[in-house]
């Protein structure tokens, strides 16, 4: 945990997770890249529109009985609407939580910089190897990054197009996000609303 100031407006910035790569200033919405040397301005974007959500940045509570803290989120826009990808700390570990049109998924396993076949040729129903995992693609879609707030584990500039794959593997939900620069794969499970308890 470290305390700094926003490079744009000077507001105090408190980084809670040592893996956070970007911090979005809650005062001026400047996106600040977190590095060992300090905070570098990545850009300034409008604040995210307020949509009803189970979390807010800073929310605490339990998920499946384990304590969590919501650190930040990225919002994506796609054909069916938008979804939020929350970066959370769950029982001391990094985890990701998506909220999509009222449905929730908790991803606890992250596979970074995995190899996947040519994304353009992938179709629904196809088996692909992501790293050493065989997954079946349920859906392939396109989304655009709308923005973010709080601390972010990944950072993709707002306006960037992302190709995502929803898949299943070994009884887990798998989400693969593919940008020009990197590919990440998350594995997790769906959650019911009752599995999430937010304090206050």
């Amino acid at each position: 945990m470290s305390s700094m100031n926003c490079s744009s407006c000077g507001a105090p910035v408190e980084i809670k997770n040592r893996f956070s790569k970007v911090f979005v200033c809650g005062y001026c919405s400047t996106h600040l890249k977190v590095s060992e040397s300090g905070l570098d301005i990545a850009g300034k974007y409008p604040k995210l529109a307020e949509f009803p959500s189970v979390f807010q940045v800073g929310s605490r509570g339990t998920i499946l009985g384990k304590p969590f803290a919501a650190l930040g989120r990225m919002r994506y826009k796609y054909q069916g609407g938008h979804y939020d990808e929350w970066f959370i700390e769950l029982d001391g570990e990094n985890a990701w939580f998506t909220e999509d049109e009222g449905t929730f998924t908790l991803y606890t396993d992250l596979y970074e910089a995995v190899d996947i076949p040519d994304i353009t040729s992938i179709k629904a129903g196809q088996n692909i190897m992501v790293g050493d995992k065989k997954v079946m693609v349920k859906e392939k879609g396109h989304a655009v990054v709308e923005g973010g707030e709080g601390e972010l584990y990944f950072y993709v500039e707002p306006g960037t197009e992302v190709v995502y794959l929803d898949a299943v593997s070994e009884g887990k939900k798998v989400s693969v996000e593919y940008t020009e620069n990197e590919v990440e794969m998350f594995a997790g499970r769906p959650l019911l609303k009752r599995d999430i308890v937010v304090e206050g």
């Binding site: 069916g80 449905t103 129903g125 079946m136 349920k138 859906e139 887990k172 769906p190 019911l192 609303k193």
Partner: protein, 468 residues
């Protein structure tokens, strides 16, 4: 909505020329049905292009035929309820038509959101309701095998898949469907649960479901007006079920009675023990040519009880002499000893006199016989459109009620186109119980059973279909 709006909705365009599409039909020879069949198609009024049920255009044109009963459903948009402790709200509906069916064969998928933030699907089809939700299998492989899908160790044949086409979409849906959009569906059971895999070009959806009763739905969604109708329907169905059981029991009872009556026949002994042959294969000329005639008198024998039902069975004994591509006619007469005695003036043992009496039996002013049976046996072969055939009829039997017990004779006349051994025709008389009315009411009970069975499944006071 004005008339112009309506016209605009109907103005579907041909993909080739932009012409309007209308309902039409096409006739073609169906190899499986082995006949010419007429199927519905959408047709362009300008370029005559046809759109069959494998095209989206077809469903746009025929949508009204496939959705006319869209309001005859249990679920309605906006319906809220609590099922098994979880609150649901019905927010959307998709109606699918099975692509391979020309007739209406639809099902509704109602999209509900639960308080738990999960999309839920209630499927209403042919009066049955199933509840489905997303399922993540331990393993699934849809492409490794060309002929089957591997699902958690179970093989699902791809040939069992069917295509559903969207014909109605309303309310809030997780995606924006189009009329005619195709979904490949696989329904299967595993460990007692229902699973469905739905595959479109863009997405694979895997859901697990269970059957729900209409009562559960009516209670859960508080569809108050239907509670009494549902209770009445169940009560009536139960009553019809009981009726069907009673009729089934009655059918079994009739069968037992028939079997008892059938097996309880008591043969009259010694009917063929003694015989006198008056004529043995004598040629006789009649209008149809020459035939051979034999006359035999069997008896006397005792018929022990009067006012009883008796059965006479006459047949060709193939072991004595088979009937082979020929015919044989018979006349069987049951003759009371007392009448024969009266007619012969007591000379009943005078064989020549008896022969003379029987030779002229038809000329007697009063009938001598107590009963007569006439019949034919035949054996034929030939060819027809199905090819070679060989058929025969070698037995005859009938029932009658004999009023008086006593001693009787049987006078048997045989006519044949070839000479036949007189011993080749045998007969038996037995005291019978009769069972025809038990058979008749067996069929009456069968019909009643069928009707009550159908009604126990189909009786319905509700404004929507409800299966068992």
């Amino acid at each position: 909505m004005g008339a112009d709006d309506k016209k605009e909705l109907k103005a579907l365009k041909c993909a080739k020329c932009g012409g309007d599409l209308v309902k039409g039909s096409r006739s073609h020879y169906d190899d499986e049905e082995e006949e010419t069949v007429t199927i519905p198609v959408a047709r362009c009024i300008q370029c005559n292009t046809e759109y069959d049920q494998h095209t989206s255009e077809y469903y746009e044109v025929f949508a009204d035929d496939l959705t006319y009963d869209k309001d005859s459903t249990v679920f309605k948009l906006g319906l809220k309820g609590k099922l098994k402790g979880i609150e649901y709200e019905i927010i959307g509906r998709l109606r699918y038509q099975e692509e391979e069916e020309y007739e209406k064969s639809t099902w509704d998928e109602w999209v509900a959101v639960s308080e738990d933030g999960v999309f839920h699907y209630f499927v209403e089809e042919d009066g049955r309701i199933d509840s489905y939700e997303e399922y993540i299998p331990e393993s699934i492989d849809m492409e490794s095998s060309g002929s089957s899908i591997e699902f958690e160790g179970k093989k699902i044949k791809k040939s069992e898949g069917y295509i559903g086409r969207i014909v109605l979409a309303e309310g809030e849906l997780p995606w924006t469907p189009e009329i005619g959009e195709a979904t490949l569906c696989y329904d299967f059971k595993k460990d007692g649960l229902n699973y469905t895999i739905e595959k479109t070009d863009d997405e694979v959806s895997i859901t697990k479901g269970e059957k729900l009763s209409h009562g559960e739905i009516i209670d859960a969604f508080n569809i108050g007006g239907y509670k009494d109708l549902y209770a009445n329907t169940l009560k009536k169905r139960k009553s019809f079920r009981w009726e069907s059981r009673i009729y089934l029991a009655a059918m079994l009872f009739c069968l037992i009675l028939s079997a008892y009556s059938c097996l309880g026949d008591k043969p009259v002994p010694g009917v063929m023990n003694s015989k006198s042959i008056f004529m043995n294969n004598s040629p006789v000329n009649d209008a149809e040519g020459s035939v051979y005639e034999s006359q035999i008198l069997y008896g006397p024998f005792d018929i022990p009880e009067g006012d009883k039902l008796y059965n006479v069975s006459v047949q060709v004994n193939q072991q004595v002499e088979p009937l082979n591509l020929e015919w044989l006619s018979f006349r069987f007469m049951l003759v009371g000893e007392s009448r024969l005695n009266d007619l012969s003036e007591g000379k009943i043992n005078d064989s020549a006199l008896l022969g003379d009496i029987f030779e002229n039996i038809d000329a007697l002013p009063e009938p001598l016989e107590s009963y007569v049976i006439i019949g034919d046996f035949w054996d034929e072969e030939g060819r027809d459109s199905d090819g070679y055939w060989h058929e025969s009829d070698l037995s005859y039997d009938t029932d009658f009620v004999l009023d008086d017990a006593g001693k009787y004779y049987v006078y048997l006349e045989l006519f044949s186109n070839n000479k036949k051994d007189v011993n080749s025709v045998v007969f038996a008389i037995s005291q019978s119980k009769g069972y025809r009315y038990y058979i008749v009411i067996f069929f009456v009970f069968f019909i009643l059973w069928g009707v009550s069975k159908i009604r126990s499944r189909s009786y319905n006071e509700l404004p929507f279909e409800m299966s068992e």
